[in-house]
Symmetry: C2
Subunit: 217 residues, 2 copies
DNA sequence: TCAATAGTGTCTCTTAGACAATATTGA
DNA sequence: TCAATATTGTCTAAGAGACACTATTGA
C-alpha cells in the first residue's frame, strides 16, 4: 500500500571550531534504519509539539547537545521516495553555529557516540544523503561569509581580531592577508572593543572585542 | 483531534518580463480556503505520482501554465500550524523563470483568472503568507543576479545585449551604466554572438546573441 | 541631414592583495 | 636583547561608476 503522507524530518549540520578548524557534529545511529552508521543529528516533526520546523530543529539540538539559542538557518529541503528506506520522506536541512567554548559541554552531555567531522573529509561516509546535505550546508555557510558576514557565532563571548580572522579562514578554507582583513572589518559596527581589556602573552597584547548586541549574522 | 501529519505543498513564484518589467504570476483561488483571493500557484504533494517536491512544482506549473522545462529553483520552506486554516502545513517555495515570449501562451491556457503582479506592489494582498513568500523569492533571485548570474531564462531564444541589460535591470530594480554592463559581460562564455544576425531598425543595427548550450544560471 | 540606438573609450575612485614597517609585551 | 604576535602603512593592479565619444542605420 502506498503512503499518503511523507515522513517529515529536520536535519542539522552543527558547525563549530576545534583548534581553529571547522568541524561538524555527527552522531552514530543507535536505531534502524542505518543502525551503526554516522549521520547528521535529526529528528521527526511532531505536529502536536512543534510550532514550526525550526522548532523541530531546536528541539533536536537541545536533546542531542544540551545547548539552546544557537544560531540556526535553513539551507534547503530534500525530498524523494528513496532517500530513506522507510518511504517517501522530506527533510528540511539547517545549519547551526556553536561557540567554540561550548564544544566540551556538547561532547559531555550526549549519551550517543558523537564525533566532530571535518566537512572536507570523505571518511566516514555518512548515512542516507547526509554527505550531500553536509556539503550543501557548508556551501551555504561559505556563501554567507564570502558575502561579508562575520561568523562571530563560532567564537566565545570575548575574542581578539586574530580570532575573528581565524574563524573567517576556517569557514572559507583559505587564507587571507592580515592587513586586508583588518581593513575589511575596520568599520564593522558588530565588533565592539572592550575598553582596557587586553589579551596578554609573550608578545604585544591584543585588544579584546565582543559582539554588538544588535549583531545580525 | 490533532493532526499527525502536515499538509505538504509546493508553491511557485513564476517570474517573467512584461515590457521589460518584472512580473510574477498570481491566480485567483476558485476553492476554499481563501476562495476568491489572489495567491501564488501551488499544489499538494502526491506521493504516488511525484518523485520529489521539484516534481510537484513542475506538475503544478504544467497544469496552470501549459509550459514545461522552466528554470526552477528552491527558495525556502515555510511551516507552521497557522499559515493554512486546514491545519499544520509545510510549503516548499520555488521560483521559476519564464521566457518573455511565452507569456501570451500562459495567459491563454489557464481556465482560472490570472494576473501578472508587480512584486514590489502592495495591492492586491495575497492569501496565506504568500506575500512574504513572494518577497523571499524575489530576494533570492536578486541575490543570484547580483552575484553575477545573468537571467537569460527570462529572454527569448534570440536577444541583443541591450535586452540582457534590461532583464538584468528589471530583476534588480535599478539602472546600470551601459559601458560598465558591457564590460562585465564582455568575456561571458554563456553569450554567443550569432554570426551575421542583426536586429535592424531606424538606428545602428544590434548584434543578436543566443544562450550557450552549457549555460548554467 | 537628423533622430535613435549600438558600441567603445577614458577618467577617477574604491578596494583587494602583497608585502613591509613599526609597536609592545614576557622571558 | 630576542622571539612572537599586534597593528599600521604603502604600493600596485583590477574593477565599478560616470560620462563622453564614435558608429550605423532608417526616414
Amino acid at each position: 500500500m502506498k503512503k499518503l503522507f511523507p515522513l517529515v524530518t529536520a536535519d542539522i549540520a552543527l558547525f563549530t571550531l576545534k583548534e581553529d578548524k571547522l568541524r561538524a557534529l555527527i552522531i552514530r545511529r543507535e536505531n534502524q534504519p542505518a543502525q551503526g552508521e554516522w549521520a547528521l543529528p535529526g529528528g521527526i516533526l511532531q505536529p502536536e509539539a512543534d510550532t514550526s520546523l525550526d522548532d523541530t530543529a531546536r528541539r533536536v539540538l537541545r536533546s542531542k547537545t544540551g545547548v539552546d539559542t544557537l544560531y540556526l538557518e535553513q539551507v534547503m529541503t530534500a525530498s524523494s521516495p528513496d532517500r530513506d528506506p522507510r518511504g517517501w520522506s522530506l527533510s528540511v536541512l539547517y545549519y547551526a553555529l556553536l561557540p567554540s567554548d561550548l564544544v566540551p559541554a556538547v561532547a559531555g552531555i550526549s549519551v550517543e557516540a558523537i564525533s566532530w567531522f571535518d566537512p572536507e573529509a570523505t571518511d566516514p561516509q555518512l548515512a542516507f544523503d547526509h554527505g550531500m546535505l553536509l556539503q550543501r550546508a557548508l556551501t551555504t555557510l561559505r556563501k554567507k561569509v564570502r558575502d561579508g558576514a562575520l561568523p562571530l557565532h563560532l567564537l566565545p563571548e570575548q575574542f581578539t581580531l586574530t580570532d575573528v580572522q581565524h574563524a573567517y579562514e576556517a569557514v572559507l578554507g583559505s587564507r587571507i592577508d592580515k592587513g586586508a582583513f583588518r581593513r575589511k572589518i575596520k568599520d564593522e559596527p558588530s565588533l565592539l572593543a572592550i575598553d582596557g581589556e587586553l589579551l596578554r602573552g609573550p608578545q604585544r597584547p591584543a585588544q579584546i572585542y565582543r559582539t554588538a548586541d544588535d549583531f545580525k549574522f
